[in-house]
Structure formats: structure tokens, C-alpha cells
Subunit: 405 residues, 2 copies
């Protein structure tokens, strides 16, 4: 079967490499079919690349080629990936993607287009890189009502936090190291501000509960305000600070979905996820907690997930996978600060007696070099709005959610 | 769609419960179809059970009912489950199972029968209880050559080892507690001798490499010789002793597959798996290590995996999932003791200088109350046969493999 690849960057070139180097295992999975890359679209030139004969700068070379049945879109960004994907699906081709931005923004429309034209749009690689998560969520958890999801969804921020936790490195030094290692972009905004994790939350939430969630609906807070003081206080309670994407079922018509730093205590499967690794924990009412762990990014891990989707499309060329979600109401994602009770970590210029006057069930934390007028503690459960009300008028250095996973 | 359940024990009654309580989520996944339990086969009576009207003791009531399209086999054991499953598949019905013993012994034949009759035989629940592992292995890793698999596959033994590690409980006390908690059978042989883990290794190996592996081919060692002394020495090197099932790709025509205790060091995703939880780590050449974690047993977790397979069958009623494996040669599973180099933990009546005379790259361990004539150490890499040769003539208390994961 002929296939094509849109975008010959890190992931796209990885897809071509995996398709070529894994012929045998692919044949086993398709039942004999080889996936032959017959076209690669990229506006750039790649002098000396062995695929010179199949490069094209003209999208129509792929769109109009009836022999090409499956296309991997690894361009990234919404435009022109969206337009290209719409046209390919409308032409009856299957499309698979690693493009989380596109799925988070336009997944609903693209799945509808795929449905109309009886073809498939798959996106396993858009969350968790090479970790199988989309398909297990969609299929294997068909016997569960999903109660909540919590994930370490961004490898760059997890690398930075790991360096802060394990090597007492400052945020800015850890970021510089991440950039030096190629884990963070020159402009690291999308990672450290939580936008990348936010897109993945949208995809997971849409899939888990069947209604599209857009990035604008997900309150998102990054890690750049996390200090080594906070890291030290958390450590005194056997906790680590992680950037978590969280989704919580509330009722048939509403969920909570947000991205923020969170204190995770030892014993949680999420606590031991270090460096650039990702993990996604899914809580089902029958199965309990299941957790999926692995490399959330990188050329070959992500490419292997794209290729798995291409193999799946090749096997399902004559039928559609039931895999869609509908539109949600504008108030489908609630303001979690108002409705979701949770515990918080607080660091403030307060005395212990001031804290005890405000909070009933408090666990105090300590750190080396703690100033006499600084107090850090874990609260009992309350909404974030209630917390803010209690703390109003106080000098608060930081508040961080405590994870329930 | 009408479905039936064979065996109304823990898992079978859980399947009925999940099917009834999860109508809505099942409808979403099937695209509108409900799975209605129309027959339950069990030779026992269940006075007062609300399903009185649909119980039967006659297998033919299910076999001959053309409206029943999908059957869950949750009887356990090879007979009569094998005969029943053969007949159901031959009649064109899909069968799903949690019966690892049957899949390990007869998976090849049953998959062939399913193929002949263009129907499906699925067994997600046979490994890892509710953890999605079979399907991610089969589908999502289509872009990888699998290099190795290591799993904590048995919850009972992991519970016992956790109590020994964390509470310094003796093996026999921990076993008694597991029995009291309902985690271990009155006759705990299948768990503590590793037979249960062995069956799961067979299924994972067959699936990963496409050739059936039988329990008799998998060298299996349980945990009953593990002592608190070994636990303490391992702890001094930040290690924990786990019962691991391991599979290693050697070449196109051979693999290693075995079950044994193994020292796992902190930092491994397998080290933090406590109590009755299971985890399966898969190492692919493109994706690196991915790990799947969750409850490996229990009524509702296992039932939810059975139900997910039933939903999958309902969606694929008109087509077969490509999912088979062939026969392996008799020498397909090699004698790992002869060919697979690994590190070992050794505890022996030897002096450090005697150890150093035999081994070149040794890490000595220590424990509280260590007798002056007892030495424990980690060796460099060698085959188990080489190790045994070196140690011949010595008083050796224990040797335990060191995991590479």
C-alpha cells in the first residue's frame, strides 16, 4: 500500500525511517501488506537525502494520487495542516497525526469530515508520544465510567522539575540545560507555560467523555513560578512538584479540566516519573487506577506511534473506527476554582497560630534555612476560591494544588 | 445484541454486573448497541440471585441460540472451557476470556478455530487483569521490534514480597495474611510457585513474537525461598526483590522466557509497584521502555477488561481482528541459563577475598546482624551456568537474578 508523509521534520523523518526499517514487523501486523512511502511533502530542500526522488513541494501530488491511501501529517501547527487534512479526508484517504495543536483545535471538525467520507483520522502520537494511550482509553476502558485523569504530559517541564528536585538546580538553570540538551525550544513558552500540556488535556478529555474541549476552556498555569523553596517544603512531606494535566468527571453535562503544578506524594505512580518521561493515570470506576508510562516525545518514540496508526488505517481501509466526539456546551468545562474541593500547599508570611486561626486541619512543613516569619503547610480540602478568600490580605508566596492521585 | 457468560464465579458475576451498570458507556462505544446478558451457564445454584430466569446448566442453551453472538468464558481451567470455546467459535460466535490457563495452553488452536470460522477470540483480561496490555502490544507497538518484556504479573506474590520488604514480615506470615485478605487461595501453589505468572509470560511472548509458547517451555521459579536476609541485602543497594516474568528476543528463531525472583533497583518503574498491583514493561527499539500499571486481578478490574473485549467483538461482529500466532519450533525457547548473560545477587558462606578470587567486578552488600562468615554481593554479567560453575563447591544460601529493567 502506498502512503505519504506531510512534513519532513523530526517526527516526519522518523516516520519514514521506522516505516523503512520495520517492514517485517509491519507486514506481520497488516497481514502481509508493506507500507511504501511514495511521497514526502516539505517546502524545504534536503540535499543528499536518499529520498530525493519522492520529495514534493506540491500538495496536489499527494491529494490527487489515488494510490496513496494513508497519509501521516507531521507538520505541526494548525495551518496549513488543517486545510490539508480536510482535503485528504474528503478525498477518502486516512490521515494519522502527531499534531496535538491541530487535534485540540480542530479534532471535532476533522473527525466529522472523516465520518462523512467513511475514512479514519487517528492521533495516537498526539498525546504521550510513543505511549499507547488514545487506543487503550477508547477501547479497553469501554467497561468503565472514567472518573478522572491525571497526567505528566510534557517532557520538557518534567525534566526541569526533576533537575530542581534532585539537583537543587534553579528554574532558569534547569531551563537552560533543557535547551542545551535539545529538550526545550529556544522559545520555551509552549512548554513552560503549560500550553503543550493543555492541548493534550483537551484531546484526553474529548476522548474520555465524548465532547470536544478546546484549549481556551482549560485554565492553564505553567511552572515558572515554582521555587526551590517550594520544592524543599514538598520534599519534607515526601512530595514532589509536577506539572499535571487533570480532568475530572462531574456529571453528564460537565467536567473540570486544568493544567497546573501539583504536589504529588511518594507512593503515587506519578511521583516516580523522572526526566523527560510522561505518564498518564486513568481512574475508572471498575478498573481503579491504571497508568501508562514512557517517552512522551522524541523522534523515534513519536514516529513509532504514528506508524502504528498508519498500520491500523491500512488494516481498516474499508471501514471506519468508531471514535468520535460531539460538541460540548459552552459551560461544559466548569470553573474548577469554584466547584472542585482539593487540598493545597501554601507558603506564606504567616505564623503557625495565624494559620491555625484560618484553617482547621493543617499539616505544617519545614525546610533547611526556613525564615522565622515563613510558614508552609498543607490545607484540608476546599475550593480554590475558598482558599483565596481565607488568604486574602496575607502575604502569600505560593499556593500549589495537591494531587489526589 | 445478546451475549452470554460461562461461569458465574468472581469474574463472571463481575462481568454481568459491569454489563448491567455500564449500559450508557457501552452504548457510546458500540455506537448505540446494548449488550444484553441473555444466558449465564453455571452448574451451581445461586438462590436469591436476581438473574434466576437466565441461569442454565445446559451449555447447548447457549451454543444453539443463534441470537447470542458474543460469549464471555470466565470459568477458568482448561476443561471444559476448551471444549466449550471450540464449539462456540465453530458456531461463529465470538468468545472473550479471562482464562489465562486456557490461552497459555490452547491459544494457538483456539485462534486457528476462530480464524477458520471468521470470528474473534479475545483475551485482554488474561494478562494484567484490568490493565490494557494485550491490545496496546498487538496494535500500538506495530512500529517497533520488541526487544524485551518484564512484568510483575502476579498480585498475590507481589503483596507477599511487599510485606516482606516494607514490614519485615516473614514469607509464611505474609502468605497467611494474603490468604486472610482473600488475595491468596487456600492452596497457594499456582501463585507462589510462579505458575500463574508463567501462563501470562506464555501469552505475552506468543503475542509479542508471533509463535506460541507453552508453559512447559518456560523455566519457572517461585518466591518461597526468598528470605528476609535477601530482602535486607537488596535494600542496602536500593533494590527490591520482585517476582518477574521476563521475555527476551534473541533472533528470528529464538527467544528466552522465564519466571523468577529478581532484584529490581530504585528508579525502575517496576520497583515502585507495591501490594497487589501489576506492571508490564515493554522495551521496543523505537519507543524505548513503555510501562503499563494497574490492578492485575480482582472482580471488577478483570470484569471491565472482559467487557471491553465483548464491546470490541460487538463492533467487529462482521470481521476478524488480525491477531494470530503460529507454532514455534521445539527449540524456539532457549535455555536462558546457557545463553543469557546477566548480573546476579549471591549470598554465600564465603569471605570477601574468596569472592574476589572468583569474580572480577563485584559490589558487596551489607545488612544489620550480618554474620561474619556470610557475604552477599552483586556479580558482573555472566550466564547462570557460568555463575553456578564458579560457585560449585561453595555453601551458597541464595542466588537471585538482577533485572535489567
Amino acid at each position: 500500500m502506498k502512503v505519504a508523509v506531510l512534513g519532513y521534520g523530526t517526527v516526519g523523518s522518523g516516520v519514514v525511517e521506522v516505516l523503512e526499517s520495520h517492514c517485517e514487523v509491519i507486514k506481520k501486523r497488516t497481514g502481509g501488506d508493506v507500507l511504501e512511502v511514495s511521497r514526502i511533502l516539505d517546502l524545504r530542500d534536503f540535499p543528499g537525502d536518499s529520498h530525493a526522488a519522492i520529495f514534493t513541494k506540491n500538495f496536489n501530488d499527494i491529494l490527487k494520487d489515488d494510490e496513496i491511501k494513508v497519509v501521516a501529517e507531521t507538520m505541526g501547527g494548525v495551518n496549513p495542516a488543517y486545510e490539508f487534512t480536510e482535503k485528504l479526508l474528503a478525498a477518502g484517504k486516512s490521515v494519522v497525526t502527531s499534531n496535538k495543536e491541530l487535534v485540540a483545535q480542530k479534532g471535532l471538525q476533522l473527525l466529522n469530515t472523516a465520518k462523512e467520507h467513511n475514512t479514519n483520522y487517528l492521533f495516537e502520537a498526539s498525546v504521550g508520544g510513543g505511549i499507547p494511550i488514545i487506543r487503550p482509553m477508547a477501547q479497553c476502558l469501554a467497561g468503565n465510567n472514567i472518573e478522572g485523569i491525571a497526567g505528566i504530559l510534557n517532557g520538557t517541564t518534567n525534566f526541569i522539575l526533576t533537575k530542581m528536585i534532585e539537583e537543587n538546580m534553579s528554574f532558569s538553570d534547569a531551563l537552560a540545560l533543557a535547551q542545551k540538551n535539545g529538550y526545550a525550544e529556544k522559545d520555551p513558552t509552549a512548554d513552560i507555560e503549560g500550553h503543550d500540556a493543555c492541548r493534550k488535556v483537551c484531546i484526553l478529555a474529548s476522548l474520555a467523555f465524548g465532547k470536544h474541549v478546546y484549549p481556551s476552556q482549560v485554565q492553564t498555569q505553567g511552572i515558572k513560578d515554582i521555587t526551590l523553596q517550594d520544592v524543599a517544603y514538598a520534599a519534607s512531606a515526601n512530595g514532589v512538584i509536577k506539572l499535571l494535566g487533570q480532568i475530572k468527571y462531574i456529571d453528564e453535562n460537565s467536567i473540570a479540566a486544568f493544567v497546573s503544578p501539583a504536589v504529588v506524594f511518594a507512593g503515587s505512580q506519578l511521583a516516580s516519573v523522572r526526566d523527560v518521561f510522561n505518564a498518564i493515570l486513568v481512574r475508572g470506576d471498575a478498573v481503579g487506577d491504571v497508568c501508562f508510562y514512557g517517552r512522551g516525545a522524541g523522534k523515534l518514540p513519536t514516529a513509532s506511534a504514528v506508524v502504528a496508526d498508519m498500520v491500523d488505517c491500512a488494516k481498516h481501509i474499508d471501514r471506519r473506527k468508531i471514535f468520535g466526539w460531539g460538541a460540548g456546551d459552552s459551560d461544559y468545562v466548569v470553573d474548577y476554582k469554584q466547584v472542585l474541593p482539593m487540598q493545597f500547599y501554601v507558603r506564606a508570611k504567616m505564623s503557625q497560630s495565624e494559620v491555625l486561626a484560618l484553617f482547621s486541619d493543617v499539616k505544617f512543613l519545614s525546610r533547611k534555612g526556613q525564615p522565622s516569619d515563613e510558614t508552609a503547610f498543607i490545607t484540608d480540602k476546599m475550593t480554590e476560591n475558598e482558599l483565596m478568600q481565607k488568604l486574602s490580605g496575607k502575604v502569600v508566596y505560593s499556593t500549589i494544588k495537591v494531587a489526589e492521585y
